[in-house]
Amino acid sequence: MSLLRKIRATGRVAEPAPPPPEGEVPEKARELGGSVQVRCVDAGSCNGCEIEIAGAFNPVYDAERYGARLVASPRHADVALVTGPVTRNMAEPLRRTVAAMGEPRLVVAVGDCAIDCGEFAGGYGVEGAVSDVVPVDLQVPGCPPEPEAIVAALRRVTGR
């Protein structure tokens, strides 16, 4: 009963949808038609970006309303959200994850580390940026990027 009162008192916490983001839509994303299943791959991140991705799917930002959904298997996924500089141990798992996804598939590099290794550039355990290991279709800069930026990138893929 107390939960019911809480639900009624809280009401809707999702913020009003911002206008659709600018920027060109990747060619492959047009085939998806408003439904995108997302698989997150942590290739060596400090977990800052993971917290922001979790934020993008929480009730406030609610990325699910644009048709994006997190899934448990790369076989189900259309988009790989890759975070962090790719460490030596994660280079091969990342390649395999992307290879396990059916076409059309997109790779989104989230965060400065994923784009150009950021703080960790030149580290002894770092293989390179995500684009050195797998082809990248979209980039979300920021350290860490705000949930709005992640939601905007996903909206460019879902087209909603």
Binding site: L3, L4, P59, D62, A72
Partner: protein
């Protein structure tokens, strides 16, 4: 007569087939609103299926025929069961074959096909989840059988349309102790069979807690679309069966177009209401621990057994 009868069978398949993804979308939408979200809209499962059909299908190396035929078998058995169960009309050309045991066996065949496919992938999670699914199924199928047996004793037959017709003509059967106990037992069994909270969480991302989801981790593209559609069809079918057995008002018992149209509207309304209640209840419940699931299902089996017993003794005297 036969035209209306065939139209009723076709109508059941079309309504359940087109409505199952909408029901899932509707339930997700209800849940989203209660969580304070905006929600993706009721059409989202249809968008998912359309996209999946356009994607590349992948057959993992080392998988055999069990993996390949399971999605089609799951959907096919569910469609046949949908044609048999009296959802819109009890007077159809196939109603003579709509036996309770056939319907439960068809549902179990779909479960078995998917469990074999999970084993066939050879992954740790596939095998683990197949064994869990079989554990749950072994407890659920007898409960469904027993719960409907409790209703079949007053009707004197295991033919589902005859049971439903009897309940329409004599509503007191449903308000009897046997009817109420059977409702409770069947409701728990339907939750377990369709993989909903508290037995399984359909939106989990943690493989160790999965029952149904972990069996389908290797499916992609069109196969995954069939598996998802199959799961949605089963949910709609079982909720429809629940409403037909325990709230049979409005089902066409004679072959006429007006009663059929009315039955269609009422069926959609009843299933949408049941779905909304289920989605709302899921917000308040947590998934129970896997080792507690047999206790829950044994409880529901006990209710079904009590229903049969009371049905036998209370209606046996008259």
């Amino acid at each position: 007569m036969s035209t209306v009868g065939y139209a009723a069978v076709a109508g059941q398949i079309v309504v359940v087939g087109a409505g199952a993804p909408l029901l899932t979308g509707w339930m997700r939408q209800v849940r989203s609103r209660l969580e304070g979200r905006a929600g993706a809209g009721v059409l989202q499962p249809w968008r998912d299926i359309r996209k999946l059909l356009g994607k590349e299908a992948i057959t993992p190396a080392g998988t055999g025929p069990a993996f390949r035929i399971a999605p089609a078998l799951l959907v096919a058995t569910t469609v046949v069961a949908t044609a048999l169960v009296p959802l819109l009309s009890t007077d159809t050309p196939v109603s003579g074959h709509a036996d309770l045991i056939v319907v439960v066996a068809l549902i179990a065949l779909g479960t078995l096909a998917l469990a074999l496919a999970g084993l066939d992938t050879g992954t740790a999670f596939g095998g683990m989840s197949a064994s869990r699914e079989m554990t749950v199924a072994a407890l659920v199928e007898p409960t469904i059988l027993l719960a409907v047996f409790a209703l079949s004793i007053p009707a004197g037959t295991t033919n589902l349309p005859a049971i439903v017709t009897g309940a329409v003509e004599e509503p007191a059967r449903l308000a009897s102790p046997a009817g109420l106990l059977a409702t409770a037992a069947l409701a728990v069994a339907v939750l377990a069979e369709t993989g909903r909270i508290p037995v399984d969480n359909p939106s989990t991302h943690l493989e160790l807690t999965m029952i149904h989801e972990a069996m389908v981790l290797e499916y992609a593209g069109g196969d995954l679309a069939l598996v998802e559609l199959g799961a949605q069809l089963r949910l709609t079918l079982l909720l429809g069966l629940l409403s037909s057995l325990f709230a049979p008002w409005g089902i066409a018992t004679s072959a006429s177009w007006t009663t059929l149209a009315l039955a269609l509207v009422l069926f959609a309304a009843k299933v949408a209401l049941l779905g909304a209640v289920l989605a709302a209840a899921e917000v308040f419940w947590a998934k129970v621990r896997l080792f507690r699931v047999p206790e829950l299902l044994a409880g529901s089996f006990l209710l079904a057994l009590l229903a049969v017993t009371s049905s036998y003794f209370l209606s046996g005297g008259s």
